[in-house]
Symmetry: C2
Subunit: 321 residues, 2 copies
């Protein structure tokens, strides 16, 4: 069966473009290659790199073999010079090594906390003062770290930690169901509670208040957590607070209090964002504090060391309260 005649020119046509495999090679070979190219000599490159000439010779051979077998250098009697292949490889080798150098630098910065991304989350009232102050301090000390921040409720934040979307979260508890085995909790502070009164309220001048004196007041409640806390505390003192309004948003709740529609309990962290025409009086209570605030990290995940540094900034901010 005769093969079909194909016109074949004098010179070989372009070879069929074979799929180019990714070469397996060592970065050491590339570095050696660059030194050899720079000096035009195996011997000099070997001296410079602290190797013998034979090692350099073998490394270049290995690189040539890994790259398809074409020589990268012409071996001349007085040294070597790059072939066309060698000249073509030169910029790639430089780029690859530079890129690896950059990568190593970024990883080092990441490791010692001086750079890289850091993703933190916090619940809303922590963002009123605690977290911003920690952020400011941290940003001064670690200018290279790129911080991203998100707000959320504690359960959502903990999920984000386990799924890997956050590195560190500022969470709170109103009871103590927190330790769950999947997270590490670092205690930041125990919040005390304040009573928010309209400026002209008869009790506004008191230095502190105990709950029984507030049994007859109208109450503004907000989020379920605060309401739960208020309810539990009040019931412990034998009365059921009369809830006049349920207002979730903290700014709105302030407005209701300022308008004299009732009084509210607010946690310490939210206290500093109170408007001037309401008065905050510390609530003295012998039972457990209303909330505990923690910084949480995922237990099975290695936290970036920037997270550790940020935790320190959080502690500092918490200590300043």
């Amino acid at each position: 069966m005769p093969k079909p005649h194909t016109a074949r020119g004098v010179e070989p046509g372009p070879a069929p473009p074979s799929p180019v495999a990714l070469p397996d090679l060592s970065t050491v070979w590339l570095r050696t290659f660059l030194h050899v190219a720079r000096h035009g000599s195996f011997t000099v490159a070997a001296r410079e790199l602290g190797w013998t000439q034979s090692a350099v010779s073998r490394q270049v051979s290995a690189l040539e073999a890994a790259l398809g077998g074409a020589p990268l250098f012409d071996r001349l009697p007085r040294g070597v010079r790059p072939t066309a292949e060698g000249r073509a490889l030169l910029p790639h080798a430089e780029e690859v090594l530079a890129r690896l150098h950059r990568a190593a630098g970024e990883l080092a910065a990441l490791r010692d906390g001086t750079g890289g991304p850091l993703r933190i989350g916090a619940f809303a009232t922590a963002d009123a003062g605690l977290v911003p102050r920690a952020l400011a301090r941290f940003r001064d000390r670690h200018p290279g770290v790129v911080l991203t921040h998100e707000e959320g409720r504690t359960p959502a934040l903990l999920s984000r930690l386990t799924e890997g979307g956050l590195d560190l979260a500022v969470v709170s508890t109103t009871g103590g169901a927190l330790p769950d085995g999947a997270h590490d909790f670092h205690h930041l502070l125990d919040e005390t509670l304040y009573v928010a009164l309209p400026a002209g309220h008869p009790l506004a001048a008191e230095p502190e208040l105990r709950l029984p004196r507030l049994a007859a007041e109208d109450w503004i409640t907000g989020s379920p957590h605060i309401e739960g806390s208020l309810l539990r505390l009040a019931l412990r003192h034998g009365f059921r607070p009369r809830v006049a309004h349920v207002v979730a948003e903290w700014t709105a709740k302030q407005g209701y209090v300022a308008a004299g529609l009732g009084i509210a309990l607010i946690p310490q962290l939210a206290a500093e964002s109170a408007r001037p025409d309401i008065t905050l009086v510390p609530l003295r209570d012998d039972s457990a504090p209303a909330r505990e605030v923690y910084a949480a990290t995922a237990r099975r995940r290695a936290a970036p060391s920037a997270a550790t540094a940020f935790l320190a900034a959080l502690r500092h901010a918490a200590a300043g309260l």
Copy 2:
């Protein structure tokens, strides 16, 4: 001796930026790293890469060690997920491997002559027809090759070859001092000589001419090579040509001939660029041909395979003369 008191903040300040060393690693590790990151599993990556799970585990460990010791993955009960370091390394690893892939592709193209740079040189009259025709043919068959071209005299071209500035040169000889040990010469053609006469010259109708019939003519001579050749030939026939004008530039020399100021010898390669108002008559001579034309390469240097392909194109063009 008390140490000077230095204010030390609560959190550790940024560590001193240590000089980052270039990591020594294998590209295999990087590829494995990418597969692991993509699948979130050592086992799956191992299957995909045709290795065992233990090999993948060790490769990742080796990469982590090479990059400073920080883990690149969090080992979770159901697989692994990249740490902050791993996420930071990801784009670099991809870039490095892509770059190596590109480099391998370029080298492959260079090796089979379908790409890469090719630097050729030629003497002036070769550029009148021979080289441009070879170039056109070559460019059609090897569109990926980036050709650069320079013109020069034979000695300069040979120097450029040895010093590595050219890959292939079209050179000529007017005697035979060429084989010098440092170059390989590939014979292209033996040039015959033509006599250039003004259109109305009495001898212009002859089918061919022998030198003795031209002993009484005025001569226009150009480059030293042609002059040498003419002189040698004429002296061999017992007369010394009367040189009326010395004009180096070929276009100008044509003008002198056309104006009837004399006749000239021109080599075959320059014949086709003659203006229509002069007549070229082949010079019949039993002595050696005026010039031999070769393609030369540097002996101790590996010529790009595109050079071989171009040599074939040159042979084809030479055969067509």
